[in-house]
């Protein structure tokens, strides 16, 4: 996670499109990754990323710098993604069947070759993260991929620090269990 330079933010607040293009380039991978983890659809994630930056452009003059810019940006991003997810669920039915609580992650398929197992471990873990419930996915992504501390994640999502920790602990426990089960098959 990279906090934008203060002068870049100031130029964006003064409606400088070139400066805003720099800001978008700096931050778009973080926003897109978050959107992809929540929505799990590259096209939807790209569309909502575009919408998020348009909202940021409109809201930037009101940003007073009371929080970090990235906290403010990710709050807008998380809210936009969660709202879009609700809309998609209304359009296409209820909760996706492949969403499971952290405790109920399935066991890994046994792999006969340790080398292959090592190579596929990351993909396996992220595949398992993809199947976690939305709140867990959000917290895990913000913590590991965006590098946000627990207190910052709590501010972004508007939930208590204890809840963030609980989500992280449960997710890590479930994923560690998955790794151990997988390792036993090797």
């Amino acid at each position: 996670m990279k906090e934008p330079a203060p002068d870049l933010l100031e130029r964006c607040r003064k409606r400088d499109p070139e400066a805003f293009a720099c800001l978008v380039r700096e931050q778009q991978d973080y926003v897109y990754t978050l959107a992809l983890r929540v929505l799990r659809d590259p096209e939807e994630a790209a569309d909502i990323t575009q919408e998020i930056f348009l909202r940021v452009w409109q809201a930037l003059p009101a940003f007073r710098g009371e929080s970090r810019f990235t906290t403010w940006l990710y709050r807008i991003a998380a809210n936009a993604c969660l709202n879009r997810l609700r809309e998609l669920r209304r359009e296409h039915g209820t909760v996706s069947l492949d969403e499971v609580p952290a405790e109920a992650l399935p066991a890994a398929e046994g792999d006969p070759h340790r080398e292959t197992w090592e190579r596929e471990r990351r993909a396996l873990l992220w595949g398992a993260v993809e199947r976690l419930q939305t709140g867990y996915r959000l917290v895990v992504t913000l913590f590991y991929q965006h590098g946000l501390p627990v207190a910052e994640i709590a501010r972004v999502l508007g939930i208590p620090v204890g809840t963030v920790k609980t989500y992280l602990h449960r997710a890590r426990q479930a994923l560690a269990g998955l790794l151990r089960q997988g390792a036993e098959h090797v």
């Binding site: 293009a21 380039r25 778009q28 348009l54 991929q145 890590r172």
Partner: protein
Amino acid sequence: MCEEIRQAILEHTLEGEPIAPDSPLGAHLRQCPDCQRYHEAIVQVDTALQAMPLQAAPSWIVERVLARIEPNREQPFLPWTVWVPLLSLFAGLAWAYAAFVWARSAQIAPTVAVWPTQLEIWLSTHQGALGALSLSVVLGLIFSVLGVGVGFYVGRERRATAER
């Protein structure tokens, strides 16, 4: 006992701090293979998740965002999707008018003053010139309509692209 230790492992490793071997937690890990494996698995999970790269956003996002915010900043007096059809319209009308004036000065077309009393006489004597005049006027009008149509179509496509 092990349940509490595992909770402590989760808390401790979340902050990225290594467990000191001489701490009570470290002492337990040395004598409990299950908790040792649990600790290793948690560290592996943390390492693997931290190593996962960000997903690269599609390159068109910046262009589309700029396309939707830049009209607010540098709006020309008239966008080209308006002035091109307008220019076509004026050019077409000018062409038609010029053809009419030329034909009148060459006395091959009826003047407005004599219209329509001498029209029938004129039509009977200048059928070829009338054809040329009509062709010029019609071409001018087609030119105008085409310009307006192309401008309208391109403008609509550009708006649709920007909205996508």
